[in-house]
């Protein structure tokens, strides 16, 4: 079983990203469970979303305390003291940021993918909605889900022009993510 924790702010699509990943996993025949935890439901407030996937049905209904992967949609959230708490050894991070990491931010973090999803989203969609781009980066860095599955799940939420633009975001995230590895 893999546990992925998404960190974002209300309005950035963290919950949707977690859900889309779940749909992509189900398309590949996996079992999933995905849910958000809000404080106050408003734009800008911190949101956490959890997605689990496995080959067998997922029973646990708790929040994720030992993520295998963190997806951070707002770079400002790197300041959160609890961001890396519980990260599994050999943990992965997918981050929306213009700047790559200079040093390893946490000893359990062995793999990081950084992509300027905000810029890509603004270029392709015209708005700062970095979530679909980050899903493409996730697929590229972890390899836990195929690019095709991620692209396919978008049509559950988008159609027409918006779908095309978000598909480009996914593809660019997949291709443009910069990977850093630590020992």
């Amino acid at each position: 079983m893999k546990e992925i924790r998404f960190h974002g702010r209300g309005g950035q699509g963290a919950v949707l990203a977690a859900r889309m990943l779940a749909i992509a996993c189900v398309a590949e025949g996996k079992c999933v469970a995905s849910f958000p935890m809000y404080g106050f439901e408003r734009r800008g407030a911190p949101v956490v979303a959890f997605t689990r996937f496995d080959d067998k049905p997922i029973m646990e209904k708790t929040q994720i305390y030992n993520p295998d992967c963190l997806v951070v949609i707002d770079p400002g959230l790197l300041k959160l003291p609890t961001l890396f708490t519980g990260l599994n050894p050999n943990g992965t991070l997918i981050l929306n940021s213009a700047k790559a990491f200079e040093k390893q931010p946490n000893e359990n973090l062995k793999l990081a993918g950084v992509v300027n999803a905000t810029q890509i989203a603004v270029e392709e969609v015209g708005r700062d909605v970095p979530n679909t781009c980050l899903l493409g980066a996730f697929a590229a860095v972890t390899g836990w889900v195929n690019l095709k599955s991620v692209q396919a799940c978008l049509s559950e939420y988008f159609s027409g022009d918006i779908l095309k633009k978000n598909l480009r975001c996914v593809e660019r995230g997949y291709n443009e993510v910069k990977v850093t590895k630590w020992q």
């Binding site: 702010r9 800008g44 407030a45 300041k79």
Partner: protein
């Protein structure tokens, strides 16, 4: 009964209103931050009056936001008659 130590002050769900109503660390919600130009500020107090969570701090002859609570709504910048407040992306201030 077993629990001996409490973090709540009152017996029921009361909340103190004799202080400014600042309790949640809403400062972490911010994506833009108000920056006050002390030279331009005339200490008129409009920003403090309009600030929704009332978190403008009085300094000697200027105001500045309490960054623990400032949500970055930008109302102070909009209301400032001297244009002394600008909103800058929070990313400019983080390492």
């Amino acid at each position: 009964m077993a629990v001996k130590k409490f973090s709540t002050k009152y017996e029921a769900a009361w909340s103190d209103a004799d202080q400014l109503l600042l309790c949640l660390d809403t400062g972490t919600w911010r994506t833009k931050r108000p920056v006050v130009d002390k030279e331009k500020c005339t200490y008129c107090g409009l920003c403090a009056i309009y600030c929704p969570p009332q978190c403008m701090i009085t300094r000697a002859d200027f105001f500045e936001p309490n960054l623990n609570f400032c949500k970055g709504c930008g109302i102070c910048a909009k209301e400032c008659l001297r244009g002394a407040i600008t909103m800058r992306p929070e990313g400019d201030f983080t390492s």
